[in-house]
C-alpha cells in the first residue's frame, strides 16, 4: 500500500491534470463534453479525505471550481443548441433517409415556389402588329442583292508596287542580317561598340532606320545592349549565333529617344 506522502503526491498530480484539462477546454473553446464530469468528480472525491494542509485544500477547491466552469460551458452549449433552431446535420440526414418517396415529394411541393412569367398583348398592340405585317414589302423585294458594278481588272508589276510601298522589295530579315554582320565587324577588342557610334548615319532618316533595325537585333537575340547608367553610355555586343528569346534571363524594355536635335549634336560632336 502506498504511503500517505506518495498518495498525496499522486492526488496532487491528478488534481493538476484536472485543472489543466478544464483550463484548456475553457481557453481554447474545445468541446466541453470532452470532460467526463462523473469520472473527474470521482477522482476528486477519492483524494479529498487525504487533504490536511491549506495548500492541498486550495488545490482541491480550484479543481472543483474549474470543473464547475466546464459544467457551465456544457449548460450554455445545450441552451444554445436547443433555442437557436440548430439541427445536427447527421440527425437531419437520418430523417431524410427515413422519409419515403411520397413524403419527400409532398415536402418538395410545399417548399417549391417556381417563378412564373406572364405576358399579355393588348388589342391596340395587336392592331399595330397586324398593320406592320400588312405593310411589309414582299420578300423578293426586301432581299434584293446589293447593287454591284463590274470593274475591269488592271495590271501592275512588282516594281510598281514596291514603288508604292505596298510590296516590300527586300525581306526585312535580309536587312537584319546585313546590319548584324556589320555590327560583328565593327566591334572593338572587347567585342562591343558604342550604341550611338553604330546607329549614327549621314542623314537623320538613315539613323532612325539603323536604330529601328538595331532594336530588332537586340530583341531577337542577335546582340545584347549593355547600359552603363553612371557613365550614361550604351554598348552593343553582338552574339556569334542568335540567342533564342526564351533563354534570356531577364527581358526589359528600354526606350531610346532619337530626336533631330540630338542627332545633330551627335554629328557635330563626331565631326568636331
Amino acid at each position: 500500500m502506498a504511503s500517505k506522502k506518495q498518495r498525496k503526491k499522486l492526488g496532487s498530480e491528478h488534481l493538476m491534470r484536472i485543472i489543466d484539462l478544464c483550463e484548456s477546454v475553457e481557453e481554447r473553446g474545445l468541446d466541453p463534453f470532452l470532460v467526463e464530469v462523473d469520472d473527474v468528480l470521482a477522482v476528486v472525491r477519492e483524494y479529498f479525505p487525504d487533504w490536511e494542509l491549506p495548500e492541498e485544500l486550495c488545490l482541491d477547491a480550484e479543481a472543483v471550481h474549474k470543473l464547475a466552469s466546464v459544467i457551465k460551458l456544457q449548460s450554455d452549449w445545450i441552451k444554445r443548441r436547443s433555442t437557436s433552431l440548430y439541427t445536427d446535420p447527421f440527425l437531419l440526414e437520418e430523417k431524410i433517409r427515413k422519409l419515403g418517396g411520397e413524403k419527400l415529394g409532398t415536402m418538395f411541393l410545399r417548399c417549391w415556389h417556381p417563378i412564373v412569367e406572364l405576358e399579355q398583348i393588348s388589342s391596340h398592340s395587336l392592331a399595330e402588329a397586324i398593320k406592320y405585317w400588312q405593310e411589309l414589302l414582299p420578300l423578293r423585294e426586301r432581299w434584293l442583292d446589293f447593287p454591284t458594278q463590274e470593274r475591269a481588272i488592271g495590271a501592275t508589276t512588282r516594281e510598281e508596287l514596291i514603288g508604292q510601298r505596298i510590296l516590300v522589295g527586300k525581306a526585312f530579315s535580309e536587312d537584319l542580317h546585313v546590319l548584324w554582320e556589320e555590327l560583328k565587324h565593327r566591334v572593338d577588342e572587347e567585342g562591343k561598340i558604342r550604341y550611338w557610334e553604330f546607329v549614327e548615319a549621314d542623314t537623320y532618316a538613315e539613323t532612325i532606320k539603323r536604330a529601328f533595325i538595331t532594336s530588332f537585333l537586340v530583341t531577337y537575340g542577335y546582340a545584347n545592349l549593355e547600359v552603363h547608367r553612371l557613365e550614361e553610355e550604351m554598348y552593343l555586343k553582338p552574339f556569334d549565333e542568335p540567342v533564342p528569346f526564351l533563354e534570356k534571363r531577364q527581358v526589359t524594355s528600354l526606350p531610346v529617344s532619337i530626336s533631330f536635335d540630338e542627332w545633330k549634336k551627335l554629328r557635330e560632336a563626331n565631326q568636331g
Partner: protein, 57 residues
C-alpha cells in the same frame, strides 16, 4: 505585328500551303512581305471613292 514577325508568318503561310494543291487567300491592309514568285497578288485601292483593282503580272 512587327516586320520580322509579319515576314515569318507570311513564310509559314506559304510553306504550309505549298504542294498541297489548295489555294489560300490572305487579305491584309498592311504592307505585303511575300517574296515568293508563285504568290498571286491582287490589290484593291480606294481612289476617289472608286475601287481600283490591279493584278500583278
Amino acid at each position: 505585328m512587327d516586320p520580322k514577325n509579319r515576314e515569318m508568318i507570311a513564310d509559314i503561310l506559304v510553306s504550309s500551303v505549298r504542294g498541297t494543291g489548295t489555294q489560300y487567300l490572305a487579305i491584309t491592309p498592311s504592307q505585303i512581305t511575300f517574296s515568293e514568285s508563285d504568290v498571286h497578288i491582287v490589290t484593291v485601292q480606294n481612289i476617289e471613292g472608286t475601287s481600283a483593282v490591279s493584278e500583278v503580272t
